[in-house]
Symmetry: C2
Subunit: 459 residues, 2 copies
Amino acid sequence: MALKLDDISPQVRSTEYAVRGPIVARAAELERAGREIIYCNIGNPQSLGQRPLTWVRQVLALAEYPELLERVPAGTFPEDVVATARHIGARSQHGLGAYTESKGFRFIREAVAAFIEERDGLVSDPEAVYLTDGASKAVQAVLRLLIAGPKDGILIPIPQYPLYSATIALYEGTAVPYELDEAADWAFSRATLEAAHAAAVARGIRPRAIVVINPGNPTGAVLDEKNVEAVLEFAHAHDLAVLADEVYQENVYRAGARFVSFAKVLARLGWSEVSLFSFHSTSKGYLGECGHRGGYVECRNVPADVQAELTKLQSVALCANTAGQVVLYLLVRPPRPGDPSYQLWAKEKLAVLEPLARKAGVVERGLNAVPGIHCQPVAGAMYAFPRITLPPGVTDGDYCMALLEETGICVVDGTGFGQRPGTWHLRTTILPPLDRIEEVVRRMGEFHARFTRRAAEGR
Amino acid sequence: MALKLDDISPQVRSTEYAVRGPIVARAAELERAGREIIYCNIGNPQSLGQRPLTWVRQVLALAEYPELLERVPAGTFPEDVVATARHIGARSQHGLGAYTESKGFRFIREAVAAFIEERDGLVSDPEAVYLTDGASKAVQAVLRLLIAGPKDGILIPIPQYPLYSATIALYEGTAVPYELDEAADWAFSRATLEAAHAAAVARGIRPRAIVVINPGNPTGAVLDEKNVEAVLEFAHAHDLAVLADEVYQENVYRAGARFVSFAKVLARLGWSEVSLFSFHSTSKGYLGECGHRGGYVECRNVPADVQAELTKLQSVALCANTAGQVVLYLLVRPPRPGDPSYQLWAKEKLAVLEPLARKAGVVERGLNAVPGIHCQPVAGAMYAFPRITLPPGVTDGDYCMALLEETGICVVDGTGFGQRPGTWHLRTTILPPLDRIEEVVRRMGEFHARFTRRAAEGR
């Protein structure tokens, strides 16, 4: 007999990942039928018109095909592009076609460590850096390390990015939710963390780690140094490892806000007792190179024998893809002022980040102008997570599906991220081009009025 | 307190992957200290001097950086390279920087289906094809689907490629070993399969699937059509899914042997009751593009609702890397006779496969000339798995470590793959250049004589 759904492991069946869930499946169906869809469900910048950086693609082309240099006129590529591609060729030893070390190319791990040192004024150990197929795979590897069974709890924010809930379900651990305070710009309090922890312990759960997403996905909140310190104090008090998802570290828009890494605050506190895993990615920031699947995790205060287990885990599928490793290298080792590629790089970077900041404002103000929609400031990341007031009897899932059917705008319901019971939300990216995003906000406002009127009239 | 080894999940700690185990770690140590190491532990062709195909790298370079065409003189790239890169640009919609569908680019899945149709004369459904970061990840996804708990058994060959034992351990399933018959060129018999199955059932295990690696890793054996049919009959009789690891399908050297896919034989049998997962990769064959992590799984007789679970599982980490997807496209859609790139492609392909066939013979004959070493024919794949006669009191692990220390040759002990108790083996690739591989075989022969003499003398 062929496989049946009943045969499939319940771990997989209980996994949910709303960012590519039923609403998105329906959007693809409509698109195949000829409808124009605006995909705001996922932070996928280049699918919404963002251009790749010339610096990244020039080096990639040469790294893939070094013989090209012999076939093109001198000056076709800027000198620093040529030098960087040659450096990659020399340091990788065998180019991009061979398996790398399980942790990734050593020279790229050194560049990641140097990037962290320069960003935070810290010492970073290249041997504690693991290059992965996007940050998602790094998160999954660390959670695999930490979860032994259903009694192992991982504290995750509510709302959260569903990679966490999905992966915890897959490894049969227990998600321990802690609520972010929407009224306070999605900040969290030590009291909330303590309550979540105590409730889990009372249920017989052993909390192992806490996940923090900063800048926040889906919330768009940016933590200040005091917030970060509070998390570390809490982790310290309860013997928790910390997973710091910092993939949006370049995406900070709110005046006065700035990204502060967990590594930096941990180093200032001087605690060697808190194990920290920090994640970064090539998919967000100003590169938006999602398809290349580049990312890393840096381990701090993780003993060598535990790191050896992580290395072994990575070795089973051999290594992260080399093109993604190279894109990561180009993220952490960009052109410097005075380099031939610097001006174009800086211009293209600004051309991504500056409109993003404006779009954050457009979405925030536009949605807040709609009666029944309340949107906290989009201080960072790539999303707004507005609260929507709905008549009784309908869910945010119903709402988002109707939004899709009526307007072609594809967003994800708050239920997919978790939210305080009795509240409804949706997540939309701020990525479409400025004129598109204005249109999205306008259509959402009109839709909201229509939908709530209809629902109230019982139609 | 920082994480301790005792805190780490036992699933991870019990996982073993010898291909990158302690012998390889020691080799890296020696290399850092200045020793020259010949890495025969892993099928990593481009690390041993194999050149990437021009066809692959030219298209990749243009796909990464399409603007290049405007910057180089006409004729820099062959017309079919330009056309293929443009086709990739058009069909991918957003180039290589955006997330693709969770299953991978649709146009590449269509090309994979066409490749299977052309190879086997079958109908293949692009929606049943999943593109993955190398075949390893595809195998892991399918095993994740099939294993719900420790009572779920997966039949694996002994010897096997340790991806299987490692992944089954990671997902807490039970490996059910069935022995290949070394004396019969590593063929297997229905009786052996039945015995393994019955023994597992007697222990309360529920066998779910059988893994077959063809051509064999580490054995180098190539199954004939009757063998393939026997496996399918066995699977049919016991309601097992079949995992057909066919990543070495282009690597067949023995005169008269040829690769026969499980898909083809299953279609001929006409059974819709056997679920089949067939794996292929860009890492082996004549491409050897290991670093790009390209691969696929094709599902047959897997109902839509089960496939939906696989899609969901893939969606959590979004998609396989796009460069790897493109390399896979170039594998399944190579230049055709008459195309401008055809002649160079054919020449470079032959320059990989022809020496591989000769090296298979060199290794087989050279090792068989050493008293105490017996090597079955290397009919396919990239490895020899010779049996070594050792004096009592030493293991193949001791042997391989001493081989490394004394000769700089890094191979993997048979224990890492599994073997009949009381026998010892090692796995070596046949990949080094011809003069190197002759040297490897010579040094191994001298070492074997030295080692066994010393061991017999009790030193």
